[in-house]
Symmetry: C2
Subunit: 433 residues, 2 copies
């Protein structure tokens, strides 16, 4: 039990849902404990730019403690939550060197989503996801290594496989990654490795169009822009198998490659299972319109993990604005409840969706009413993403990198780093230094 | 045997010695193969700033292929040289996925130096070196993790050990690291972790003064500046033992700590042993004044690996300007030899030495004649290091980070990254992706 005077709110996850919940509670008459596995918040929309050498990891990551440095009622803990006791109102957290139990009065679970391999273990083992900062660094290292290997290979078929990059999934992540990979080759790696005559980026999508929720005109535009860039797009095709050096498609075609980027789906984070409740589609937790979990008193779930239907009966999508607004609502509802007021229901303020495809190429669907394509959509995308980044220093750094990349056609951050051998050695030390 | 028309020069190592040798040979009538274990050149003087969250890894690393992108006679290979066959004039290189043998007409070995633990395996296993970019990232992760652990500890002694950082070695690396660690705590971590009342940085040096090659006045100034900053300096004391949670000094004193930064010495890289020759002090390869190895025809050794005495009979120090000038001389001598001219002997142009201690604190010994201390030495240090950095983008990025850090007292790059668990998983994949 919590013995302090002020109600204690624990927030699990410092993604967009958890972060905005904590910011809403900062300075209010509650004690907040914000828990995340990392010591930083990641601006996930730009992960693909880290993976393709355009940005530094620190450009899109922001130390969580810094965000709340002057908010005395928000405390930060780095650890992995591995238990929720609904009866005792406690959670257990695995820290680096110990396990602790923390009591709560209210709990906000905002652990986000993970890559969905749809049960295919081989794909999980052999493909590269792009959900976290680590993923982006690992993918960057891998791609650069493929080109290093290709440059010292004398076998044409092997060179071809090493310089063929396959991206699965025609959503924003897949499209943006495919476009950026092609530009990385076209503007940079082609100069670094003049001996490599070509590289191929292939985007595979299971349905007959890209960017499912967009209007048809924008879907077509995205497809045209990707193809004009040089990306090979294969629609209505699924990946049935992947192995060492190949990807097999549903029509039997085998693509020789060592790089399969898996952007084909996400599902609620495994933390959803800690609630011991039947889950909805994609492993999401059903919640009431107040964001409180059905049958779990004082526990709120927000963001990608939460399953809530809009007035048309469709689940709210796994998008950052949804997570932000749900996080803020859960926090406000907790404050209302503490002060004896009625809770509010979720009403999504949808300002639209956008995806970038490459230099001067993008699509945007502003307020789900105004369609933009090409240069103007791209400028809007750049401007809004700069605005959404946390912290002046990160904005400045990203802006400079973008201007630099735009003017020089360069990607400066193409480092293979750190050597996994060294990390392994250090991680294997008995005292886990 | 090399069958091409133009003589082939292989350079092992893209540190300062190898890089300047390659630049001297670029555009000349030779074929150059530059080999390094990494795909980037590291600006080592600023490693400690990466370790202390002031700079991004990419700020001080520069892709080697980019440097030589427009130099058609310079080829780059990423791999580890593991054999030199002096008779056959070939070297063998371990690449990521195969082993290759490369023929040379002339060889420049510039593999640099490694941390010297003086045979103490326990120190090697339990301490943190600071010689490579990986080291800096590992140390940064470790220090931030110590503070995370301390913040969730309720044991005062444990907290003290976790927030005590010991640096061994009173040379430039040790001094700069100790100063920067203290500022990291004082300006940043103290705000991030308000629950941690103090941290302690201890610098241990075996002799009775810091910065051995400097004049006494500057040695004293460095000591005074470090102490005024808050670093505890222990002179005339060696570390005799290290274990889990402690460092033992020669007088029996035990310092409770989990962080021992080892900056107490360097020695020639293990590649020196590939020459199968008796080595000089600190594992360095004796060379003639032309930089050619004694008894090894057509093999030149430059930089930290080379042992050459100055006119006073002292070996040239392991310093960047020495490596640069030796690298350029070896390259020029190879060109002279090819064109039938007499080779030249090494003559060191010494422009002085400098070390920074912290914000507005530094010592400099310009042209070994003009001593500078404090603010003016610090400004000179900043200016010259910016100038020495390779590439406009890196200069701009470092300048912005420095101005940012100076104005805000902030260190933005405090990310614990990447999770070694993930790197390990990926590294352990059977196909070594």
């Amino acid at each position: 039990m919590n013995t302090t005077q002020r109600p204690r709110v624990i927030i699990i996850g410092a993604g967009f849902g958890g972060l905005y919940a904590a910011q809403t509670l900062a300075g209010k008459a509650v004690d907040v404990l914000l828990i995340d596995r990392q010591n930083y918040h990641t601006f996930t929309p730009l992960l693909y730019q880290v993976a393709t050498c355009a940005l530094d990891p620190s450009d899109i990551a922001y130390p969580i403690r810094q965000i709340f440095a002057h908010k005395r009622n928000v405390h930060v803990l780095m650890g992995q939550v591995d238990g929720i006791d609904n009866e005792a109102r406690t959670i257990s957290v695995q820290l680096a060197d110990r396990r602790v139990t923390e009591p709560y009065d209210y709990l906000i679970v905002a652990a986000g989503s993970v890559t969905n391999y749809f049960g295919n273990d081989t794909v999980e083992r052999l493909s590269f996801p792009l959900k976290e900062l680590d993923d982006a660094i690992i993918l960057r290292n891998h791609i650069l290594q493929q080109f290093e290997k290709a440059s010292s290979s004398t076998d044409a078929a092997e060179r071809g496989a090493l310089t063929t990059l396959v991206v699965v999934g025609g959503g924003p992540t897949g499209i943006e990654t495919a476009g950026a990979l092609h530009e990385l080759y076209n503007y940079v790696l082609r100069n670094d490795f003049p001996e490599l005559a070509r590289a191929q980026v292939i985007l595979v999508e299971a349905v007959d169009r890209l960017l499912m929720p967009y209007p048809q005109k924008l879907q077509q535009s995205a497809l045209d822009q990707l193809r004009s860039l040089g990306v090979q797009v294969i629609l209505k095709m699924s990946v049935t198998d992947v192995g060492e050096g190949y990807v097999r498609l549903a029509d039997g075609q085998e693509i020789a490659t060592h790089t399969l980027v898996w952007a084909a789906g996400t599902k609620g984070a495994p933390a959803a299972q800690l609630l011991d409740l039947p889950l909805q589609r994609s492993g999401r937790v059903p919640v009431r319109p107040t964001m409180e979990v059905i049958d779990r008193e004082r526990i709120y779930v927000v963001g990608d993990m939460a399953y809530l239907e809009d007035p048309q009966g469709n689940p709210y999508p796994m998008l950052i604005p949804v997570a932000k607004q749900e996080g803020m609502l859960a926090a406000r509802n907790i404050l209302r409840r503490i002060s004896g007021q009625a809770e509010e229901s979720f009403a999504y303020h949808d300002r639209g969706i956008m995806a970038t495809i490459g230099r001067s190429r993008a699509v945007a669907w502003i307020y789900n009413r105004v369609p933009l394509t090409g240069y103007i959509a791209w400028v809007a995308w750049l401007f809004l993403h700069l605005l959404w980044l946390l912290g002046f220093r990160n904005r400045l750094s990203v802006l400079i990198n973008w201007v630099w990349n735009y003017l020089t056609y360069d990607r400066s951050v193409r480092l293979i780093l750190p050597a996994s051998r060294r990390m392994t050695t250090r991680a294997n030390l008995p005292q886990e230094r």
